[in-house]
Symmetry: C2
Subunit: 395 residues, 2 copies
């Protein structure tokens, strides 16, 4: 009795569950401390102290009916105004509360945008490797994901293929930088080129093509790398932001969507996205977490630990003979599988109690994703096993 659309997802779920069960089985057999799980994207850096302090103050000092109550589906006005101000200060933009819609995390933000703009058979372009859930989001609104094959040289998108695959049905593209799973930041040159191509195609087809910029990792950039703010380059840009990684609070489901006034038909689109927030059942972003942001929207976790993990893993794994583009942001490292079959490589890694996710899950075969949002200690304990794993392949 499961709907046709969901049936396939239910079927695939058993594969993921098997991987998960396998992890649990290994932990039981060898002890949790002897299993090296690099498969999850759950932040490991402590929540900034100010976060819990602020929540406690809100609960003690403010009117509970308002703190926990309904507000406009777009979110509390003062919170949205504060967020707009912060973005303006950081990126020299010119937003006000009208441009900000609070949402239940970035996943929900992408959903309310897609629901607002997609008609059946519309196409949304994504650059491989990409977060596979995009496909499910797009299919929910009867759209089709069009994939641009990965550029495994440096994982900047392949722009020639991109230009060729834009059709009259292209309604949007999704970009995600710093990128999950590669850790690569799209350069300003890349962004400018993407925008130039889109401007040209908009004219050619006489309709808008939107950029949806999925930015949960914006604040996790290393070596003073700059992550360009896309609305400055292209008017028809939705920015989707989440505090999951910035404040280490992924379970709380709090983020926002930015819709610039300069976007074509922005007034109706802002209304549509606000209504979509209601109709998909979120109604509004969790209210206490919204109140928190009034005082904490500029806080962020100290990413030093992630950076140490990044350097340690990158240096050691390349020393053992593995190949990998050095990540510039996020907390993932995208390792080239020493054999063509990344699933086979994952299986082999499991023999050494190392768990990571095959690149096939991101539409990029021949690679694996290593999440380093884990303890530095676990990485150190895992290194000898990585070395042994390498010895299977390197001479």
């Amino acid at each position: 009795m499961v709907s046709k659309k969901m049936k396939e997802l239910v079927k695939n779920n058993s594969v993921i569950r098997e991987m998960f069960e396998e992890g649990k089985r290994l932990a039981q057999k060898y002890g949790k401390e002897n299993v090296y799980d690099f498969s999850l994207g759950n932040p490991s850096i402590p929540v900034p102290e100010k976060v819990n302090q602020t929540i406690i103050e809100i609960l003690k000092n403010e009117d509970s009916l308002q703190v926990h109550g309904y507000m406009n589906n777009a979110g509390f006005e003062d919170v949205r105004e504060k967020i707009a101000e912060n973005i303006n200060k950081k990126f020299n933009t010119n937003f006000s509360k009208e441009n900000i819609i609070m949402c239940v995390g970035a996943a929900s933000g992408i959903n309310i945008i897609l629901k607002s703009i997609l008609d059946p058979a519309d196409e949304v372009i994504a650059f491989a490797p990409y977060f596979m859930e995009y496909k499910n989001y797009i299919n929910s609104y009867d759209g089709n994901l069009i994939e641009i094959s990965p550029n495994t040289k440096d994982f900047q998108p392949k722009l020639d293929e991109f230009e060729k695959k834009i059709t009259p049905k292209t309604k949007a593209i999704i970009i995600n930088t710093p990128n999950n799973p590669t850790g690569v930041i799209y350069s300003e040159k890349t962004i400018k080129e993407i925008c130039r191509i889109l401007e040209k195609k908009q004219k050619e087809y006489s309709h808008e093509i939107f950029i949806i910029s999925d930015e949960p990792y914006r604040e996790i950039a290393y070596d003073n790398n700059v992550v360009p703010y896309i609305t400055k380059y292209y008017n028809n840009t939705f920015v989707v932001y989440s505090y999951s990684k910035t404040l280490s609070i992924p379970g709380e489901r709090i983020g926002y969507v930015v819709i610039p006034t300069q976007m074509e038909d922005s007034k109706n689109i802002i209304t549509a996205v606000t209504i979509a927030n209601r109709v998909i059942g979120c109604v509004n972003a969790p209210s206490l977490m919204q109140r928190l942001l009034l005082n904490c929207s500029n806080e962020k976790v100290d990413i030093t630990t992630y950076d140490e993990n990044r350097k340690l893993l990158y240096n050691e794994l390349t020393k053992y003979g593995f190949e990998c583009v050095k990540p510039q942001g996020a907390f993932y490292l995208f390792l080239k599988s020493p054999i063509e079959d990344d699933l086979e490589f994952c299986k082999k890694a499991k023999e050494y109690n190392i768990l990571f996710v095959p690149g096939s899950s991101f539409s990029c075969k021949g690679y694996v994703r290593i999440s380093y949002c884990v303890s530095n200690d676990m990485i150190k304990r895992a290194l000898p096993s990585f070395k042994k794993l390498a010895e299977n392949y390197m001479m």
Copy 2:
């Protein structure tokens, strides 16, 4: 550039916004204290003290990364187990954590169920008057809402019409008791009769027809009225619960879905609903609010004030000559418009600074919904205006 499905909603939204603006305009003109707004369903009874105390204790004593972190898309296991235990104690059922999926409020709960079971052109039956958002939810998954006309005698559903309107395409029915907007509780006799009809039709068409029981007002029942627990009468029942009204925390978006093991294909449906929670972008119910429920899932607001409001309004309005079925639960009173055109009646009420929602918005013309989740004081201040309003119609 707004999608076709959303375009109509954007258009209708301006009508609602006009009503809202009108309320603000009246408040500015006559002073907020002289405008009697009975149009909103925002709880007014204080949040139980234990709620904020418990949140503060959690923040002080538990590991922040876990409190604010990801968990299984269905929710924390200990929370789900606790909720199952509480339901079992109250209703003599036999649920465990597998039967409970935490969700972002009831609206989201209904969405993840519909996404899991509806194929295009499937029919979902609702008894008028009903919460109009149901229609949007069902349309999101390309289903059609089939309406049963209202029984204005006592607002128990019309079961003869119901039986006739079940077709091979009927996939589910939605019931909502205590009911928004009538305040009526469906009797055990009604529930048993609904289930008998559905059992018969399931056999006739050789496929399941689900009941989706939307129960945000379950705990708001007066005069010791009993609200039957539907899974005890019918195996293919989804229960959708929300803490919005029970704890006066509607902005926090926290609730759960119950899927009984006895439901046909329950294992796959539980998986589908869990995945749907992820795919519509909720990912999981807000984590801190889930942790709260471990200690507060049996707390509830003191509904004495609502009950006082109910009696006061019912007694006075009927004294003035208005007609109304006495509400048994929720915090709404469904008043018969003294003239056929309920929109016209709403306009007339506005002349006396009284705001309420036309029954047309619940697919029941000739009535208006009065929300009495307001201060007792405001009702007392509004009564002379209600009396004057009545004098326009009663001789």
